[in-house]
């Protein structure tokens, strides 16, 4: 965290100094400067981009690269502020693109990477990068989620098999609570970090899907999602979760408790093992599997992908294409995945290598079962925000929360169309 702040301060100070330098020396050889705003998957991203920018500048004289690595909770707002104040960056790496594509801000995918790179992208991921049939972003990586449990606590409580259905899970939670009163059987993160994930995952396990492409409508206030929220509420009401779901975040809340052995079951993802090993949870004996589903429904996983995007405002299409093609060169892209920490690659070539990986491999096989956020819908970011906000208080009245979520998402959808 500290690292980012100093870095941001340094960038700010440098651009300040640069303004004066330019004012003082108006005629200098004109380097093209690419301005990048990139997501901080981990603290390692700063060092990775430092090295990458250096290599790229050496290979491409005349192009300078300025990278701003920004933490996840701030990046969306930062990009928005830059665009609104006329300082649109050239390349951004974050988790949204459809709203910007709808506003006509973005280059097409085939304009920002070489044809060879584009052909190497896994088709399902590229489909999720399309707005009205045209790809406007290039997927950088993806993740899939899974249900994690603490083996010691679960088998210690006498639970034989991994919970497959909601009933299994309820029974397992009760058993854990009985055997270990100080352990929270299941940790439910409905805080602002990623409450939409809980909504999508558990609703999905009851057959619920967020958006209907055919009717072009959000499908949120229905019996599938109601059933899922009511199931979670049962866990909360019977004190089988931590005391404050509405405020608990995924990472510093649930995962931190899981790493301390205070939680038996938790929603995790392909990157949780990496996180555990770096945050004091290396001794936790975990196992992962499919999320428990409602009786008679198929289990699902939720896939999430992020994007590289090139912005038209600066008119630097050629340079953007050079840089993004550079980042997809095998060694650079492996470095990117390594710095990001345990994600699923977005390219076929890197995906082949990752299938051999003991941790990531199983997730790649899970991908066919994955449902994705409707990231290609322009209003999704606004709708997501409403889901997050109302989930914070959903456990007090599930029906009212669903009504409010549906109303806000419909309003946002009407506005974007």
């Amino acid at each position: 965290m500290k690292k980012f702040r100093t870095r941001i301060a340094a960038v700010a100070a440098m651009s300040f100094a640069a303004t004066f330098a330019v004012a003082a020396l108006p005629s200098q050889a004109e380097d093209v400067t690419l301005k990048l705003v990139m997501a901080a998957y981990t603290d390692d991203m700063v060092d990775y981009y430092d090295g990458l920018a250096q290599d790229f500048e050496n290979a491409n004289p005349g192009i300078k690269v300025e990278v701003d690595v920004v933490a996840w909770p701030e990046i969306g707002q930062k990009v928005k502020t830059l665009i609104a104040s006329g300082q649109t960056p050239d390349i951004v790496n974050n988790d949204e693109f459809a709203g910007e594509a709808a506003a006509g801000l973005l280059y097409r995918a085939d304009q920002i990477v070489s044809a060879a790179v584009l052909k190497d992208i896994i088709p399902a991921f590229l489909d999720n990068s399309k707005y009205k049939g045209t790809a406007y972003a290039v997927p950088d990586l993806a993740s899939a989620r899974a249900f994690f449990w603490n083996k010691q606590l679960i088998s210690g409580a006498g639970v034989k098999a991994a919970p497959k259905t909601w009933d299994d899970m309820l029974a397992a939670a009760k058993a854990v609570k009985k055997k270990y009163p100080s352990v929270y059987p299941y940790c439910l993160p409905l805080g602002p970090e990623e409450a939409q994930m809980i909504f999508t995952t558990w609703g999905g396990g009851n057959g619920g899907r967020l958006f209907n492409e055919k009717t072009n409508k959000y499908t949120l206030n229905n019996k599938e999602f109601k059933g899922a929220l009511d199931f979670l509420k049962t866990l909360v009401d019977q004190k089988l979760t931590q005391p404050n779901p509405g405020k608990t975040n995924r990472t510093d809340g649930c995962w931190a408790l899981f790493a301390k052995g205070k939680v038996a079951m938790v929603d995790g993802g392909v990157f949780l093992p990496d996180w555990l090993s770096k945050n004091g949870g290396e001794n936790i004996d975990w196992a992962a599997g499919a999320f428990p589903a409602a009786k008679g429904k198929t289990d699902i996983t939720v896939g999430v992908q992020d994007y590289f995007k090139g912005y038209k405002a600066g008119g630097k299409q050629k340079e953007i294409q050079k840089f993004l093609t550079f980042i997809f060169e095998p060694t650079n892209y492996q470095g990117f995945l390594k710095a990001a920490g345990g994600f699923i690659p977005a390219t076929k070539s890197a995906g082949k290598l990752a299938e051999e990986d003991p941790i990531i491999g199983p997730y790649i096989k899970l991908l066919p079962k994955a449902i994705f956020y409707p990231g290609t819908v322009g209003s999704w970011q606004a709708c997501k925000a409403s889901i997050v906000t109302y989930m914070g208080n959903a456990m007090s009245n599930t029906g009212k929360a669903l009504q409010q979520i549906q109303a806000k998402c419909d309003a946002a959808h009407k506005k974007v169309k």
Binding site: N244, G246, K247, S379, K415
Partner: protein
């Protein structure tokens, strides 16, 4: 008066000396305010680009927003309770600070320190004190036998707003009590002595002499406090971000959430215009009060 003997200079000669101030006022007060008003009548798309004029659409959307009424109700409670309680506690506190006793200096310092700390620091400290897993509060409550299981006072909608009120009162106390202390110190000693000679008791002296003389300081403290409290963003944002849901939002944090979470900058601007008008009324009130005060003194 003195002014009459000075030769009157044309106003334009003063311009170079005033230009800095004028620049600051225009650049940092008038222009942003104007932009805010304009924004509230514009359609701004989800990426922050201006698409055109919206007429009253943003205001209509705001009026139709079903989260607004509870937020308005809460903002009024927030304002009345925090300002009221702060004044009620500050009056005796100022009296105590004014009393001569050993440790008076210590008392004064300890009251000013929370004011010297930034609101974010204070709010963060309280957030950790109230943390359900690692906080002091749960430890103390459990040791005292008041609760059996860990509770999350900030995570529970029925208690989180009360906690915010307490913290807001706590951080408002230093300023208010110091304004009142200054008011107390300006009361001439002779008046109090005269009251003593005439045989007035403690309470009587307070309500018939001290409090009426304290009135101007009291009103100024009330209005300035109201402005601070109404605008108070950091306490709520740091401790609960207005959550869970919208359960602890006031209009200030609600405007922020509409802009950056719901991504509706136009609607947020229309709410901010409302906030601006409320503050504007307070400022007018304050100017009026200062005028009365001047009139009182001359």
């Amino acid at each position: 008066m003195v002014a009459a003997t000075v030769k009157k200079e044309p106003a334009r000669k003063a311009l170079p000396w005033l230009s800095g101030t004028i620049f600051l006022i225009v650049g940092f007060v008038l222009w942003p305010t104007l932009e805010l008003f304009l924004m509230s009548f514009r359609t701004i798309d989800i990426s922050g680009l201006i698409e055109g004029w919206a007429g009253l659409e943003n205001y209509r959307m705001l009026a139709a927003n079903f989260d607004l009424p509870p937020v308005l109700r809460r903002t009024i409670i927030w304002l009345v309770v925090v300002v009221g309680m702060t004044l009620a506690i500050s009056l005796p506190l100022a009296q105590l600070m004014n009393a001569k006793f050993r440790g008076q200096k210590f008392l004064r310092y300890s009251i000013i320190i929370p004011w010297a700390a930034s609101l974010v620091i204070t709010a963060t400290s309280f957030k950790w004190i109230l943390d359900p897993y690692y906080g002091m509060m749960n430890l103390i409550l459990k040791d005292l036998g008041i609760i059996k299981e860990d509770v999350d006072l900030l995570g529970n909608p029925s208690t989180s707003f009360i906690m915010l009120l307490i913290v807001a009162i706590f951080v408002s106390l230093p300023f208010t009590s110091y304004v009142l202390l200054a008011g107390l110190q300006s009361i001439p000693g002779e008046v109090l002595e005269a009251a003593k000679v005439d045989g007035a008791g403690g309470w009587k002296t307070y309500w018939t002499i001290i409090f009426p003389l304290l009135r101007p300081a009291f009103l100024v403290a009330a209005v300035i406090n109201a402005v601070y409290v109404f605008n108070s963003f950091p306490i709520i944002w740091v401790m609960t971000t207005g959550g869970p849901g919208y359960e602890t939002d006031t209009t200030t944090t609600f405007a922020y959430k509409i802009a950056f979470r719901d991504q509706d900058i136009g609607q947020s601007a229309s709410l901010a215009v409302g906030n601006f008008l409320v503050i504007f009324i307070f400022i007018m009130l304050f100017l009026k009060l200062s005028k009365w005060r001047e009139a009182d003194q001359t």
